[in-house]
Amino acid sequence: MDITDLRLIRLSSEVEQKSFTCVDADLNDFFVDDALNYTNQLLAVTYILETEIDTVAYFSLLNDKISIKDQGRSWRDRFNKKFPHRKRINNYPAVKIGRLAVSENYANCGMGSQILEFIKTLFTNNNRTGCRFITVDAYRAALPFYEKNGFKYLTDNDQNEDTRLMYYDLKKFIEA
């Protein structure tokens, strides 16, 4: 889909939200009931792609962190042997996609992948703070979409849940 006829705006109290419907009721509810509240509480920023008459897609971003619990001395020794001279890090800065949704009128035309390309580039070019990963708590129906876009699963513990935590390593996105 060619986005040149759209507008990209940041949600605020001054923005009049245009109609939005996608196949998932939770994503519709978040856009209508919660997105502005998250913005006003400084918890997330929602970006909207829209035409003159309707909302094409939206995505909400917030700061996140991936933390690893130290697994003990034997694990540290094994790590140091496998990756000599590499510093072990237990906390990584990340950006979380709180929600990402495309209107049913514009589904299956590559809009979601373009949004991910935008986010990946935004956080690897002239970024103001360090950010190593993108995280997302993905709806089950969206798992193939995120897999296709290079995301991996953070844990096996959520295999039977409605959503699964995934991550993308932004270091992959820096040209060698």
């Binding site: 986005i3 040149t4 759209l6 507008r7 990209l8 705006i9 940041r10 939770d26 994503l27 509810d29 978040f30 009931d33 919660d34 998250y38 997330a44 792609l49 909400s60 996140d64 962190k65 991936i66 933390s67 690893i68 619990k69 697994q71 694990w75 790590f79 496998k82 990756f83 590499r86 072990r88 890090i89 990584y92 990340a94 979380k96 709180g98 929600r99 373009q114 390309e117 935008f118 990946k120 580039t121 935004l122 070019n125 995280t135 708590d137 290079g150 991996k152 953070l154 844990t155 096996d156 513990n157 959503t163 935590l165 390593d169 270091k171 992959k172 996105f173 820096i174 040209e175 060698a176």
Partner: protein
């Protein structure tokens, strides 16, 4: 009311080990994929009504 945004848990055990190993063995995206994303990014910049 939508579900709250789920927090990212602290990784432990098998998850922590797998994640740590994946982090230290990074397979870069192709130059074409990165170039394509930059073109998309520039399009978003042009349609944005706020500075990026």
């Amino acid at each position: 009311m939508a579900k709250p945004i789920k927090e990212t848990p602290v990784l432990k055990g098998k998850d922590a080990k797998r994640f740590t190993e994946e982090v230290y063995v990074v397979t870069p995206e192709s130059k074409e994929a990165i170039k394509k994303a930059k073109i998309t990014f520039e399009k978003f910049q042009k349609i944005a009504v706020f500075p990026i």
